[in-house]
């Protein structure tokens, strides 16, 4: 799983209420996408192009268990890289098969608009614009397998534990 695209940057402590505000709670997953960062960066969700990469700050995704990772995936973002990621957000990222990597120093290594190249499984992060390379923490094999399978729901569907989506 490799990605090469321009990056967007957000600051430290981005919380799940900013990604998926309660105002969007009753909407469909597709509709919720339009609310990403609507409080802190209005209009941003409408500018994201499919395949773009998000560079987060420290403790990205702090807060609630809501499926904020699903919104970032449905927005078309290919991947998230942050110095460290909130444990609960990280669980949702794995389970919704939204590739998310922890990479110390990544927030300082990129300016918005730079082109990044990410080797997800190996945990390599390159800034092609600035000609630099960083080492991320690769996902443990058990979790990588879930991401590669497309998330938890396809696995449960396949074995008949949950019904397919109507």
């Amino acid at each position: 799983m490799n990605f090469k695209a321009r990056v967007w940057k957000v600051g430290d402590n981005i919380n799940t209420d900013l990604i998926l505000p309660n105002r969007a709670f009753y909407l469909t997953a597709e509709e919720q996408v339009g609310y990403v960062f609507s409080a802190n960066r209005p209009g941003w969700a409408q500018q994201v192009q499919k395949g773009d990469i998000l560079i987060g700050g420290r403790n990205f995704g702090m807060g609630s268990s809501r499926p904020a990772a699903r919104s970032l995936k449905n927005l078309g973002l290919a991947c998230l890289v942050a110095p460290y990621i909130n444990g609960l957000f990280f669980r949702n990222a794995v389970n919704f098969a939204f590739p998310a990597l922890e990479c110390p120093g990544v927030d300082e290594a990129f300016d918005e608009g730079d082109i990044a190249e990410i080797e997800f499984s190996a945990g390599r992060v390159r800034n092609l614009t600035q000609g630099t390379e960083l080492t991320a923490k690769p996902l443990p094999a058990q979790l990588l397998a879930i991401v590669n399978a497309g998330g938890i729901y396809p696995l449960l569907e396949k074995e008949g534990s949950i019904a397919p989506r109507a």
Partner: protein
């Protein structure tokens, strides 16, 4: 090699001799709690089998009674799920209604040494019972209900040694705000609370600290088991349990001391819980529109009694709305019998039924543009309780009650004799 409380329970529940930071382990889950948000159409997946109905609990708490048709439909889906699989522990609107984390305390669902998951982030609340409790994601909870297990990443543990005793009108919330203000987030780490100061803290007070540990982004938050805790649990469940203490040679990332005697009332400024605490005096005179006492962190009987003690014989300031939300029907009934509810109502409080309510901006006290709220609930993120331009200050129920009387953020020590 010595282990911390979290490491020992992870080891016991994954069938390993040792678990250390960096390990990813698959653990047996003793208690799996589903709540109403899981059953909303955008989140729910139709489960075809469950691991064991005896290990599952269904709670409606975020949106009760149903404020609209989607919530009502989610409750109906949840009831059908419980019926289909013979799940007996169902907390619907009515006699056993409450916020899931309060119900865990009321009904003894989390016993020492056990594991518990729920897909609400404040599930670490159950760590007060010397239990490994964690908020997981929606897909996790569906997987857990089917398989009866989940994976956890083991992080390093930070230990807090609590010493001394809280001064008058200073609460466990202030102790938490002190830790969060000074030490910031603990993402990827566990927190373990112990020390001689624990004995002087009620279970409700300790529970405020473990619940709020979600705001430290901690993986797990645990207290040791003492006689007070063992008695609480034994009074509520016949389940047998084995308390888990940290090994004497357990390895910690850090051990930090907190002198409870030296604390003062603190307030977290809007938009972030961590690295954002100020002494209440620094906010003196800040005008408020709403004061909120409730949530899984501070909707206990202790909290309602403390607020009543401050509000007794006084009135909520004109133009200010004081909303009080008992965290469960058990709390509500106890506070009715003690007279606290009557005192709060006489002062001008509106009592809402047990629900997560406005803590998550759901209902029962949502904020309009530019409004200012002081809350004892769990989060003050931008837009958390309503419109994004509203501002949420977070403090103890004592500080919230005092501020409701004054109409501006106020020091509760001036209101308690």
């Amino acid at each position: 090699m010595g282990m911390t409380i979290a490491e020992k329970i992870l080891a016991a529940k994954s069938g390993r001799a040792i678990v250390a930071p960096g390990d990813v382990v698959t653990v047996h889950l003793d208690t799996i709690i589903l709540f109403d948000n899981n059953f909303v159409p955008s989140n729910w997946r139709d489960i075809q089998r469950v691991c064991d109905p005896e290990r599952i609990v269904v709670v409606f708490d975020h949106r009760v009674p149903a404020p609209n048709q989607i919530a009502a439909g989610a409750h109906r889906t949840g009831r059908e799920f419980a019926r289909r699989f013979g799940i007996k522990r169902v907390h619907d609107v009515g006699r056993e209604q409450g916020i899931s984390h309060q119900l865990v305390a009321d009904y003894g669902y989390a016993v020492p040494g056990s594991t518990l998951v729920c897909s609400d982030s404040h599930t670490c609340s159950g760590g007060v019972f010397n239990c490994l409790a964690r908020g997981v994601g929606g897909p996790d909870i569906i997987y857990a209900a089917v398989k009866g297990e989940t994976w956890f990443r083991c992080g390093e543990t930070v230990r807090y040694e609590l010493e001394g005793a809280l001064p008058k009108a200073v609460t466990a919330k202030d102790a938490f705000l002190q830790i969060a203000g000074v030490h910031g987030d603990h993402a990827t780490q566990n927190v373990e609370y112990g020390g001689p100061g624990v004995a002087g803290l009620s279970i409700n007070a300790r529970k405020t600290i473990t619940t709020m540990s979600a705001e430290l982004s901690a993986e797990f938050a645990t207290f040791e088991c003492d006689d007070t805790l063992a008695q609480w649990v034994r009074a509520r469940t016949p389940l047998r349990f084995e308390p888990v203490a940290a090994d004497a040679d357990a390895k910690y990332k850090a051990v930090r001391r907190v002198n409870l005697s030296a604390l003062e009332p603190l307030v977290a400024l809007p938009d972030s819980v961590v690295n954002n605490s100020q002494p209440v005096g620094a906010l003196k005179g800040t005008r408020i529109d709403q004061a909120y006492i409730g949530s899984c962190a501070n909707g206990t009987q202790d909290d309602l009694e403390l607020a009543a003690a401050i509000l007794r014989g006084r009135r909520v300031a004109p133009g200010v709305r004081l909303i009080v939300v008992p965290a469960s029907m058990t709390v509500y009934r106890d506070a009715m019998q003690s007279g606290a509810i009557a005192t709060l109502m006489d002062a001008g409080a509106t009592i809402a039924p047990p629900t997560c309510g406005a803590c998550g901006g759901g209902h029962m006290g949502v904020l309009a543009e530019q409004e200012v709220c002081i809350t004892s609930s769990t989060r003050n993120f931008k837009g958390r309780m309503g419109e994004p331009s509203s501002r949420v200050f977070m403090a103890s129920p004592a500080t919230v009650a005092a501020s409701a009387i004054a109409g501006t953020i106020s020091d509760p020590r001036n209101f308690l004799n």
